[in-house]
């Protein structure tokens, strides 16, 4: 590659990155990506990074790494987690509260409890939103049989920050059935 070409390539790359991250207002950015004519208007790497964020949150929560801050640092500075299953619902906001949440309960590098699946990702005006199922299993709890503990889903808002995609808000809902047709077998039947 000649130095002239290299300079051009570098220039194009820098311009493209600036355009992507700085110059274009969110709406315009969306307009350019909507042209993908798909259900998903985020760039492939954006979706992949958001997928990685959600997966990392399970690791950070179960390990309690860095005294809970590994989990807290997956959120924006004003990021919020709401556990609707905790009493009347409980909100944790900001780095310290989120870290406290992540070091409660059974934690450690050998704890694998939160299996997240079915991750939906959609572009939104402020970044992206998503949902993921989670089934919480008790595996290797000394003296207890392995079992499904509970489960439900997360409702997420993601924001792109200079450090990468982060949770702006995450809400956990425990699974609850409303309609159980008579034709469908119930547990234990």
């Amino acid at each position: 590659m000649t130095s002239g070409r290299l300079t051009t390539a570098l220039g194009v790359a820098i311009l493209a990155m600036l355009a992507l991250t700085v110059l274009l207002p969110a709406q315009q950015r969306e307009a350019t990506t909507v042209a993908r004519a798909s259900a998903n208007a985020l760039a492939a790497l954006d979706t992949i990074e958001i997928q990685q964020l959600v997966r990392k949150s399970a690791w950070a929560l179960d390990s309690g790494d860095n005294y809970g801050y590994a989990y807290a640092d997956l959120f924006t500075p004003d990021g919020t987690f709401v556990g609707t299953n905790q009493g009347e619902g409980r909100t944790y906001q900001g780095r310290d509260q989120l870290a406290t949440l992540a070091r409660g309960g059974t934690r450690g590098h050998t704890v694998q409890s939160h299996l997240t699946m079915n991750h939906l990702v959609k572009a939104s005006a402020g970044g992206a939103t998503g949902r993921a199922y989670v089934v919480v299993v008790d595996v290797g709890v000394v003296g207890k049989p392995n079992k499904v503990n509970h489960g439900g889903y997360y409702d997420d808002e993601y924001q792109k920050t200079p450090q990468g995609w982060r949770f702006k808000r995450r809400t956990y809902y425990e699974s609850k059935v409303d309609v159980w047709p008579a034709s469908s077998p119930r547990p234990g039947q």
Partner: protein
């Protein structure tokens, strides 16, 4: 896409520049493209099928590894056991319960990072005993834990360079963390593997772009929500299928019938029952095919115990329509414990 390529070019340059200003690393850290992430993820998901089915006399499993690669089961025996080479890995994969429709290893939370010489990753694995094809055996959580992986890009695509299993234990004395992400093992340089050029794609001569893979992932991810939450009498569910689609079992054809079937299943605004994992996608001449593991969990409400309703896998044909990717056929096959693979 141009932006992604440009970003890739820039990142390569930045890595190049920083490499010259700092000490030259023995084996440079590559830039992973979207397709690299997706291909590694596909490798990780294929693992479940290869191990549980014992396909090709165990060699389907062995061939997910690079030459000289290793699997270590740290839970086997007092100090763990390591399997190296194609023959030993294949022997491992045909031991134990196996069968063409046996599903056991649910792999989730796959985190991938570039590393010198390739990439490293870690995944959760939930290992379930699914009732044997409705023979009355009770399904249960058998065990689980994590895999620590090192991946290498070979001329045939991404492969495991090493994989280690660590069993999940809680309440036990704190153990040192598995050596991983921060200290990847030295990898032998694989010539040409650091190029961000779109050379070999996922195994097949695929015509799927990164966007296609992601849209198909998202289609499958929408499925459980449409079924479990069913906000509109099955319309969202039916609209995931092409107008001439066929679902089995029970055989259900056409959107009105699909909507009716969905509404006959338990649902609720906050209901979560169908958990899908190991989504493998392959390009075909006229679209794509795929498969994924399903475990349907009856989550206990109000402190009631949870139980596994059923498990198995879906086999899909996807078609790209003006509405986007849709299911053309979707077939559920319950997990059946086979005898040892022949």
């Amino acid at each position: 896409m141009r932006i992604a390529i440009a970003t890739g070019v820039l990142s390569v340059l930045v890595v190049g520049f920083s490499g010259t200003s700092a000490q030259q690393p023995a084996s440079p850290t590559p830039v992973l493209t979207a397709i690299d992430y997706l291909e590694i993820e596909q490798l990780v998901y294929r693992y479940g099928y290869a191990l549980d089915t014992g396909g090709d006399n165990g060699f389907a499993y062995a061939d997910l590894y690079a030459d000289g690669a290793t699997f270590t089961g740290t839970n086997q025996g007092p100090s763990g056991r390591t399997y190296e080479g194609r023959e030993r890995l294949a022997a491992l994969a045909r031991g134990g319960k196996r069968g063409p429709n046996f599903m056991s290893h649910w792999v989730t939370n796959v985190v991938i990072e570039p590393a010198p010489g390739g990439a490293i990753g870690k995944t959760y694995v939930g290992i379930f005993d699914i009732g044997n094809g409705g023979n009355g055996a009770k399904s249960r959580v058998d065990h689980g834990g994590i895999y620590n992986d090192v991946y290498v890009k070979t001329p045939k695509g991404w492969r495991f360079k090493s994989r280690s299993f660590f069993e999940s234990t809680s309440g036990a004395p704190v153990q040192p963390p598995p050596a991983m992400l921060t200290t990847p093992g030295a990898l032998s340089a694989s010539p040409g593997s650091r190029s961000a050029n779109p050379e070999p794609r996922i195994a097949n001569p695929g015509t799927l772009s990164a966007e296609d893979y992601i849209e198909i992932q998202q289609l499958v991810a929408r499925y459980p929500y449409a079924l479990d939450q069913n906000p509109d009498e099955g319309q969202s569910y039916a609209n995931l299928f092409t107008t001439d689609a066929v679902f089995r079992q029970p055989r259900t054809e056409g959107r009105p019938n699909l909507a009716k079937m969905a509404s006959g299943a338990p649902h609720g605004a906050k209901y979560a029952r169908h958990f899908l994992a190991n989504h493998v996608i392959e390009a075909t001449a006229d679209g794509a095919v795929g498969k994924q593991y399903l475990v349907a969990v009856d989550i206990g409400e109000s402190g009631q115990p949870s139980s596994i309703f059923l498990g198995g896998h879906y086999e899909d044909v996807y078609a790209k329509t003006p509405e986007g990717w849709r299911f053309k056929t979707r077939t559920f096959i319950a997990s059946v414990t086979g005898t040892e693979a022949k």
